[in-house]
Subunit: 423 residues, 2 copies
Amino acid sequence: MSGNANSNSLQMLAGHVDQDRLWQRHLDMASIGATPLGGVHRLPFSKEDAESRRLFLSWATARGFGTEMDDFGNIFVRREGTEKDLEPVVSGSHSDTQPNGGRFDGIYGVLAAFEALEAIDDAGIPTRRPIEAVIWTAEEADAQFGVGCLGSQAYANPSKLPRLLEIRNNLNIPVKQALAELMEDHLCVGHRAFQSPIAYYVEAHIEQGPELEARGKTIGIVTAIQGHRSFKVQVTGEAGHAGNTPERLRKDALVAAMQIFSELRKVFHDPNDVVRFTVGEMDVVPSAMAVIPGSVTFTIDFRHPDPETLQSLGDRIAVVTRENAGKCDVTVSELRHSSPVVFKGPVPEAILKAVESLDYSYMALPSGAGHDARYIAELAPAGMIFIPCWRGISHNEAESAKLVDMVAGTRVLARTLVELANL
Amino acid sequence: MSGNANSNSLQMLAGHVDQDRLWQRHLDMASIGATPLGGVHRLPFSKEDAESRRLFLSWATARGFGTEMDDFGNIFVRREGTEKDLEPVVSGSHSDTQPNGGRFDGIYGVLAAFEALEAIDDAGIPTRRPIEAVIWTAEEADAQFGVGCLGSQAYANPSKLPRLLEIRNNLNIPVKQALAELMEDHLCVGHRAFQSPIAYYVEAHIEQGPELEARGKTIGIVTAIQGHRSFKVQVTGEAGHAGNTPERLRKDALVAAMQIFSELRKVFHDPNDVVRFTVGEMDVVPSAMAVIPGSVTFTIDFRHPDPETLQSLGDRIAVVTRENAGKCDVTVSELRHSSPVVFKGPVPEAILKAVESLDYSYMALPSGAGHDARYIAELAPAGMIFIPCWRGISHNEAESAKLVDMVAGTRVLARTLVELANL
């Protein structure tokens, strides 16, 4: 293919992204597990989950795309490349939802990938590499099983499989059993081995945060999935009578907790507003109006996309806490430590090139939430495309995205996939 | 009586305070409702309460003192004065306890008054006015009925009686019924009318706070029962995802609550350490590690002995709260407003004179807790004598006082009563 022909057909590609088709597919999917308040309740491994996957496979088959499934139920829909032996470029997300979740989280990434495949096909653009649209199984499993992204974790690192299969939900059903029931349901499709090589991975998703909307940008080029550390701080003072105990003899655990929180907020203050620092729980004991708090427990949720900042700033929590405990005793325990995944190299570069050629407004930003791309990045160069969502609300029936942004994201994705498939 | 004779017999008086008798009476009382952990469980209106009152009356009768009771069960034990028509000097406290309370709270004031009567009698000191030892009924009623000092309230202001009698406890039993059962139990004693005039009222009590012990003083001359205002502050922000929501778009109710608390602590800071300012409850909603707090409710307990400070400083709470709420909404509601009762004039002056003549170390201090003296002060000049209690612990089975301090307080009380009874 010459540079000119390539450039011409690429310019045609955006016009082949069909907004009515894209929207109709969202409506069709949203009808599976629809809630009265306009959301979707399509839990991982549920019969609604199975139904959404059957629908996806039926569209793929009708279109003549190839289909494969691995032993964790991850589904791959394939448009062949001109060089069939090359590793595919893969794009997608998940079709399950949180309990009473929204109509866009996950499924948008699946349908944008599928629409991109159709648009590329409709535009008659050949690519060297195959391009695939994927549904990863049980991304939203954390609400029932306490762990998410099961399918992408299993695919990227099958050594985790024995552990993942034994995790039980709140009804004591193991993943193994739930997965077997889901797989049973499916049509016969080709088999895909875990860890089958992927050339590049691109995931489109609603932002699930307010930045794009707040800054008036259409496309977010995701720089990283931020790292996440969480802590529990226990402050122990001494309960006492609020009327009788003078200030100088008090060991007020809430005063100490407040002082610690206040100093930590100064330490974590970030003029660039990238740091995410939250105290979400604070429990006071004994919690009586006329009793000086004897102990206070609070949590710290700290996230940052930069690995060094995550480490160094997070490590200051214990130090600052001890320095500001006054007359109280403190203990700090770390509950979670997930490193950031940084997206750089060919995928974000291809996204940037696509955005610029399509002339959409954009910004680079980290993802606050976790995604399947976190795990597939262990296997292949990866990146993500965000589109705005209303007020940043997600995991909620009120979740909403504009069709014009959905189309923009799909156009950027399609162009990115072609770019990567010809690398 | 000449000045010299008076001075001589007064010097004898201290020696007539019998520490063994005083201690034995405490042990006898502590055996009624004794708990396994060394405390006393003698709830108002209970059969243990009735038994303690019978015991008190039996001692009085054995000693030949007169006894009277009013229609709320308040018991008066009288040593006559040389001028019988003069209004009596009254001293005492209560014999009931908090649930699993201590062996000194209340009963010490009753037994010190009775010991003072006996010591004055033993010393053969005539006084112009009668001197009486009193048990006020149901001082500790707040734990079951939500209101305390029922007997002294009724005596000082019988217009409250219809309301007080209708208050129900946590078993839905009205005061009226509980009181009728208590009264039934008693021996026939003389009748005392509510609001019968009192010349002066003196109440001895353990401090129930740590000041005397901390400062190494034996006697506290109580300047006031401090005023008490309490508030509920509701801070409303917006819940949001801890990973996705940037600082500048947050309305974090806990951050606002912390800022308000911090500024209020500055406003309420008192170099003299008289102000009592406590946040004892703080409830965070939704209280999840990864969710920015959407609302926070906290309480403020503020006490001060000076009426003007109680008013002006308390009134700043709403202002400071609003000024420091940031992007959150706040509402402040006042739950309680009790004015201070200031003790000045003849009673604290007589206490001071007694302490100085006995050469005990002392300090002036306000009372953090409420006492019957609060209400009797509406009827007569009043004052209180505090003795140290271990670590300020009270309303607790671990409550403890030293016999040497109990004797000192009783000596001061006896001398004060003689002084006032000759005014």
